[in-house]
């Protein structure tokens, strides 16, 4: 099954810039479908980026983040060729993870 995570990390001097696009419905639980039934809340609760066994970015998300979220951030450190790990877990217990080499 294709990964839900697209990620790219580029190191430039001291800073590594990370961009990620995650495929996820991010249903708020407030929207009704065609039949008038509530679409159950289904959203990423925690998104974590790890480098060198430490967390460089952690997001606690709720229902306000929209579908297919895109995140961009920078962190100090990060060398070309090293691994960056991305993982998320949602309110229904589903999870996904991806690892990418810093460019």
């Amino acid at each position: 099954m294709a990964s839900s995570i697209r990620v790219r990390a580029i190191a430039s001097g001291e800073i590594t810039e990370v961009q990620t696009l995650i495929q996820h419905p991010m249903d708020s639980g407030f929207v009704k479908d065609d039949k008038g039934e509530i679409i159950p809340a289904h959203f990423i609760q925690e998104l974590t980026f790890e480098y060198d066994s430490r967390k460089v970015f952690v997001a606690d998300w709720g229902t306000a983040v929209s579908k297919d979220p895109y995140v961009k951030f920078s962190f100090k450190g990060g060398n070309k060729g090293d691994d960056l790990k991305v993982s998320w877990i949602d309110n229904q217990g589903a999870a996904d993870t991806a690892t990418v080499k810093i460019q």
């Binding site: 294709a2 697209r6 790219r8 961009q19 990620t20 696009l21 495929q23 929209s66 579908k67 297919d68 895109y70 961009k72």
Partner: protein, 284 residues
């Protein structure tokens, strides 16, 4: 009393005469002149833009939006739909055939030629209609013109044509000219309780705001289709945009791919001839 009657008759005669003369002037449509006038209007209105810039809609007209869009284009939101489209396009039908069998060049790099006027049937055929007919011809069930699957398929086909210039042809056939003219008329006709025509927003006020949205210019407006609209949280076809536009101005939308919409697409695509395909696109 008599003089009043005479005056009334004279007035009516003048009106009638002018009606006849203007009907005479409602001559053969001149698409070449129309397209030229269409483009010149926008080029004059936005002198700092090159003609090909218009295909990016609001991003060509608003610096802040442009910056955000360029960032996101590194990881565009339509990527998932595009991948799905590629897969769907390649997947064989139950009878073993493929979409590629229905199109010239295997369906790759041809989006800029749609819509075209089918002289056999005497009607405009859009890309969506062609895909739908391909399914029908191969015993596959109907998919919605406004749904995700059609959006994904047209996204993939548009992607294979990225950079190619719109090349819409109006054959020397009075029916084709009629279809073009009907499309033009639809574009300028006011409709819905809000009494807007397509031109009201996209000719009179591009770059201005309609509530929170920045309006796109009409020239090049189909070049980015289909689009991932943040508002929709997903990919949407030309049919979806036309029908929702109508309901937004409080007009009951016609059926997707109704003759009016196909003619409209024909007109809008033709006047954007020479502008590059930028689809699939992303919009707020």
């Amino acid at each position: 009393m008599r003089s009043r009657l005479k005056l009334a008759l004279a007035a009516f005669a003048v009106l009638a005469l002018s009606a006849i003369s203007s009907a005479g002037a409602a001559d053969k449509p001149d698409p070449v002149a129309d397209a030229s006038a269409f483009r010149n209007y926008f080029v004059k209105k936005f002198p700092s833009l090159k003609l090909e810039d218009f295909v990016n809609g609001p991003y060509a007209l608003n610096e802040d939006m442009r910056r955000q869009w360029l960032e996101k284009e590194q990881f565009p939101p339509y990527e998932f739909s595009l991948e799905m489209g590629k897969e769907l396009f390649a997947r064989p039908f139950a009878n073993g055939k493929h979409y590629a069998d229905c199109f010239p060049h295997q369906g790759i790099g041809i989006r800029q030629n749609y819509p075209y006027f089918d002289e056999k049937e005497g009607k405009v055929v859009t890309l969506e209609l062609a895909l739908s007919r391909c399914r029908e011809a191969n015993g596959e069930k109907v998919i919605s013109f406004v749904g995700e699957e059609m959006a994904a398929l047209t996204a993939y086909m548009a992607f294979t044509s990225r950079g190619k210039l719109f090349d819409i042809n109006i054959p020397d056939d009075p029916r084709a000219l009629d279809a073009y003219q009907r499309g033009k008329r639809y574009f300028y006709t006011r409709r819905g309780q809000l009494n807007f025509s397509c031109a009201t927003c996209h000719v009179q006020y591009p770059g201005e705001r309609m509530r929170a949205e920045v309006l796109a210019p009409a020239v090049g407006i189909l070049n980015a289709m289909p689009i991932y609209r943040s508002e929709w949280g997903g990919m949407g076809t030309i049919s979806r945009r036309f029908t929702t536009c109508d309901s937004q101005i409080r007009g009951v939308p016609l059926e997707p791919q109704a003759e009016e919409y196909r003619d409209l697409e024909y007109y809008l695509s033709y006047v954007s001839n020479g502008l590059p395909i930028s689809g699939p696109g992303a919009r707020p």
